[in-house]
């Protein structure tokens, strides 16, 4: 199992992203100018056919070429599913470090066909496209801007290859977007259920707990009525003061009481999501014991991988792996990640999709282990934030994308020399990781500076409340 492949960095035609994005924008512009809309259904159908063809191609490449198309992790999931189907623990498969739910979802791999999981992940990938459209429609974004955002997800070479190669991340992306939709519709029970489940499934969405709790504000989410969403048009017409004056972060702290923090909605969210998480974890602990707890949960929480990966910490961890790190050293590596999360949450929580995006980008950039599949975590959030960005593709956007990709390719070059040529280039690889962090930071800062802040909800007016009650 090679490390670069394990990191999910098997060569992808990344250069296509830029040309594709430019081409798509031109296509959409031309079509919009001509007054015709690209049919969303046709887009989905085309994407589905394209994904089926890619899965079929993957089968052919696996059978005929030395380098497999299928992701190494997919083989791990499939082996775990096979073990589960034969009544054994999926954790008998070394390096299976996921919830047993994933192995269960892939049991048809052992029963029907080994490609079942790829179809499932690609279907989730298509659902992400559908959910992007739903979110943007609810927020009143015009149809051509929606189509552009959806295309950016559905035809991003990175995302369509990740699903068809058999990576499970599209499932997580789909659930995260579904949670945002439920929040926008005020369906607190569903938010809590899916949130508890997805944190059990993939842990990292735990970083969204605080912003979700903050946004479940009684001033926006009345008990018997739908929340009032801030529309994209309102923002375009008015000055930025409109959304900001509604920002609850501006509320004077002295007026904030305990009762306004621990509201019924927030407590319900905490209790239900906590119960779902504990039930799933408890059930699988009962079935698979400590092996499950260690592999699916504790491993991810305490993971410090000394092997090369995109993280700036990898060489430091390797150099100190034989020593025991002091508590101070452990804290100091955790501090920048934690501090940045808190600042982003308290500045942007009320613009929830944007908050999720910047939080995820920062979380990945400062993480102790970074693999390429983590990038999908924020790729799926970009299209739902894009209409609020004033960044022009020419040339600021393009510079950002190029910078990020060049930094990644530069890292991959040193990674290749270390892993496949046996050269001692640890120092160069570590410097490449530092440059990649710089590229991530630059991209994040540019995204923040070019974003038009837009809280998800508008406060429910007393008159509106009374009207709703009378009705």
């Amino acid at each position: 199992m090679n490390r670069l492949d394990e990191l999910g960095t098997t060569p992808h035609p990344k250069s296509i992203i830029v040309s594709l994005s430019l081409g798509i924008q031109e296509l959409v512009n031309t079509r919009a100018a001509a007054g015709s809309m690209v049919s969303f259904r046709l887009l989905l159908l085309f994407s589905a056919i394209f994904r089926v063809l890619l899965i079929l191609y993957g089968e052919w490449q696996d059978a005929h070429m030395e380098v497999r198309y299928t992701d190494v992790d997919y083989i791990v999931f499939s082996d775990a599913a096979k073990l589960m189907y034969s009544g054994k623990s999926p954790y008998q498969r070394t390096t299976y470090r996921y919830s047993p739910l994933l192995a269960f979802l892939l049991v048809p791999n052992a029963v029907f066909h080994r490609s079942w999981g790829k179809f499932l992940f690609s279907a989730s990938d298509l659902s992400v496209g559908l959910f992007i459209r739903t979110i943007l429609k609810l927020r009143g974004v015009p149809e051509n801007a929606i189509i552009f955002s959806v295309i950016l997800w559905l035809f991003n070479p990175f995302t369509f290859t990740i699903g068809t190669r058999g990576n499970c991340e599209p499932i997580v992306c789909a659930v995260i977007l579904w949670i945002i939709i439920c929040i926008m519709k005020g369906k607190v029970y569903q938010v809590a259920f899916w949130y508890g489940l997805i944190v059990h499934f993939r842990i990292y969405p735990i970083i969204y707990a605080l912003p979700i709790t903050l946004v479940l504000d009684p001033r926006y989410l009345g008990s018997n009525q739908k929340p009032l969403l801030t529309k994209w048009k309102t923002l375009r017409k008015n000055s930025p003061q409109t959304p900001y004056s509604t920002d609850p972060s501006n509320v004077h702290p002295t007026r904030t009481t305990l009762s306004s923090i621990f509201t019924r909605t927030r407590v319900l969210f905490g209790l239900i999501s906590g119960a779902v998480f504990v039930s799933c974890t408890g059930l699988f602990f009962y079935l698979y014991g400590f092996e499950f707890l260690h592999e699916a949960l504790l491993y991810h929480l305490t993971r410090t991988d000394p092997r090369h990966n995109f993280s700036i910490y990898f060489y430091h961890i390797y150099l100190h792996y034989e020593d025991r790190l002091s508590l101070f050293e452990k804290l100091i590596s955790f501090l920048p990640q934690f501090a940045v999360q808190l600042i982003l949450i308290f500045r942007f929580a009320w613009d929830l999709p944007f908050c999720f995006l910047v939080q995820t980008m920062a979380f990945v950039a400062f993480n102790k282990v970074i693999t390429a599949q983590y990038f999908v975590w924020f790729f799926c959030l970009m299209p739902i934030v894009l209409p609020w960005s004033s960044m022009k593709l020419k040339w600021e956007g393009l510079a950002c994308i190029l910078c990020w990709m060049v930094a990644q390719t530069h890292w991959l070059m040193w990674g290749y020399l270390l892993e496949f040529k046996g050269k001692n280039v640890f120092i160069q690889l570590w410097i490449a990781s530092l440059l990649f962090l710089a590229a991530n930071t630059m991209a994040l800062i540019t995204i923040i500076r070019r974003h038009r802040y837009s809280p998800l909800f508008q406060p429910i007016r007393p008159g509106f409340k009374a009207l709703a009650k009378r009705k």
Binding site: M1, N2, I75, D79, M84, Y85, G87, K88, S89, Q92, T94, T95, P100, F104, V107, F193, Y244, S245, L283, L287, Y288, P306, R307, I312, Y315, H316, Y318, L319, H320, Y321, E322, S333, L335, P336, Q337, A339, V340, I343, L344, R347, F348, A365, F366, L418, E419, F420, G422, K423, N424, V425, F426, W430, L434, L437, N440, T441, L444, I448, R449, Y453
Partner: protein, 300 residues
């Protein structure tokens, strides 16, 4: 309607999940670290399937001296029956970097005069590679090769944690079984050529000032296991060592693996944490600046 459907799906899902995996809790404990791949349906069912497996039931970790003692106890006491000898043994490491193949080309000489007492129906050659702790074989990759019929049978025993660096891992063994059915008439001399390639992967080595760690491979243990007369009792399964005509000792194979350099530790830590801190400060400033610009607009 949508939420009703999703709740229904959740219930069905949960019920099916519980039903399908409930039985697994009973079998989980039976699983060990050993990987056994295919069911041998040949006449070897009276023999132990893997020699290494019985070693690891006796010992927790692999030590060369223990393994030699163990093999000496397992081998047939009568040295006359060693009717196969090694004529030539060539070993190479193929490829570069962290993923290479250990190639062994072996030429055996079979001396039928020595097997006159045994009516050999089934024989197999067993090659046991005792891997140094700096490298490992991926059992699932070997399984793929087994499915492609590259080996008759193959298994990995010992430390199969693929992710540990070498200073935290123990040695492992790869046991390869190859077919060697003998259709030899007495008085003839025959040769048998075997070539095996085992895919190996480097673990992260301990820190070295030279920047490279050298992993040395010893010679493999070559054995022949024969079952006399097909379906017969266990005690007639014979395990014999295969020695060389002149006991050729090939040159020790060495794999140089890049390692971290201890003297880098100080400045790497300082620069790593400084970069993280600088990055965090820049993101914080950008977030606060954006907020301030909105505040200014608000009060304008």
């Amino acid at each position: 309607m949508h939420s009703f459907l999703s709740v229904a799906v959740q219930f069905i899902f949960a019920a099916q999940l519980f039903a399908s995996i409930h039985s697994s809790s009973r079998t989980t404990e039976e699983a060990g670290n050993n990987f056994e791949f295919n069911e041998r349906i040949s006449c070897f069912q009276c023999c132990e399937r893997y020699i290494s497996k019985s070693y690891f039931t006796e010992y927790e970790i692999l030590l060369d001296s223990n393994f030699q003692d163990f093999l000496a106890r397992k081998l047939h006491p009568d040295p006359v029956q060693t009717f196969v000898r090694i004529l030539d043994l060539q070993r190479h490491l193929i490829g570069e970097g962290s993923h290479r193949h250990l190639s062994s080309s072996i030429r055996f000489s079979i001396q039928p005069d020595n097997i006159s007492d045994l009516s050999m129906k089934c024989c197999e050659i067993i090659i046991i590679e005792r891997l140094p702790s700096g490298v490992y074989a991926d059992p699932f990759e070997l399984e793929h090769l087994l499915q492609c019929a590259v080996f008759k049978d193959v298994a990995v025993f010992g430390d199969t944690n693929l992710e540990l660096p070498s200073f935290l891992s123990n040695q492992s063994t790869v046991e390869v079984h190859m077919d060697a059915t003998l259709n030899i008439s007495s008085g003839q001399k025959n040769t048998l050529d075997l070539k095996i390639e085992i895919p190996l992967h480097a673990r992260y080595p301990p820190l070295q000032e030279s920047g490279y760690s050298r992993v040395r491979f010893g010679t493999p243990d070559l054995l022949m296991q024969c079952s006399i007369g097909g379906m017969i009792p266990y005690q007639n399964c014979t395990l014999m060592p295969i020695s060389g005509v002149s006991d050729p000792q090939p040159e020790a194979l060495v794999w140089s693996i890049p390692s971290g350099i201890k003297s880098h530790a100080g400045f790497v830590s300082v620069v790593t944490f400084a970069s993280a801190l600088l990055s965090a400060i820049l993101i914080t400033i950008a977030s606060l600046q954006l907020s301030r610009s909105h505040e200014i607009l608000k009060h304008a």
